[in-house]
Point group: C2
Chain length 139, copies 2
């Protein structure tokens, strides 16, 4: 069974936690999403991250996340073709999950660090501020 089929066919229950973990419940997917929040977009940039994701795993996770509508890719170069990856709105909605993971880690795992992406994730998921229209002046 291909990893792509797994995303489509595998559903353990209707529970929202289980259903979400069916997509991103592994050691790597959320690190790819973290990198995209941090502004990385190419395969090479993600391979260079501190965790040294194996190349076959990175390729598999990007494909799965694209199939799940969380990531989209666009060619930025032809011959050889090269792709840039970005988060879709559905992917950007994962900011709160990352922030919760960061907060727990910072509190409970000694010497763990929060990277700049956390702030970006927070901004990306923040509700747009309602700006009051300036009152029309009477002429």
């Amino acid at each position: 069974m291909s990893s792509v089929k797994q995303v489509a066919d595998f559903a353990r229950s209707s529970c929202a936690v289980a259903s979400t973990l069916d997509i991103i419940g592994d050691k790597w997917s959320l690190l790819v999403i973290r990198d995209l929040f941090a502004g990385k977009s190419t395969y090479g940039e993600m391979l260079a991250s501190g965790e040294r994701v194996p190349t076959n795993i990175l390729a598999d996770r990007l494909k799965r996340l694209e199939e799940a509508g969380i990531v989209e890719k666009n060619a930025y170069q032809e011959r050889p073709v090269r792709f840039a990856y970005t988060l879709t709105p559905k992917g950007r909605d994962m900011g709160d999950i990352l922030i919760a993971l960061v907060r727990w880690g910072r509190k409970h795992i000694p010497d763990s660090t929060a990277h700049a992406f956390a702030e970006r994730a927070a901004r990306a998921t923040a509700k747009p501020r309602v700006t009051k229209k300036p009152k029309a002046r009477r002429a």
Copy 2:
């Protein structure tokens, strides 16, 4: 390498997201934590959950979570000995992670449902309300 050693020895980077996923980054650990938030405490209760966790995986995850200080077990019966599992304060701090997963799932996965545990998780992680002391009456 035993699963217990993995928890202790495996650290991909100092990133708080990666470090947290080293502990609970798989399809099952957060479902066990969900069940404990929902008030389940015995092995049999957790085996009966809708996702039908395989018995060897449940045993492994409970052991790992105990090693990581997220879950604690206490014998509630002798001969044969039976254990009840509960979340430690460190485990209860995972409520925000579960809530973020629930919200994302409810928004993006059709027909996914939030169970009662979400509310309990929210209560468990909510800051205690500051109660004003009643003013001392003048005699």
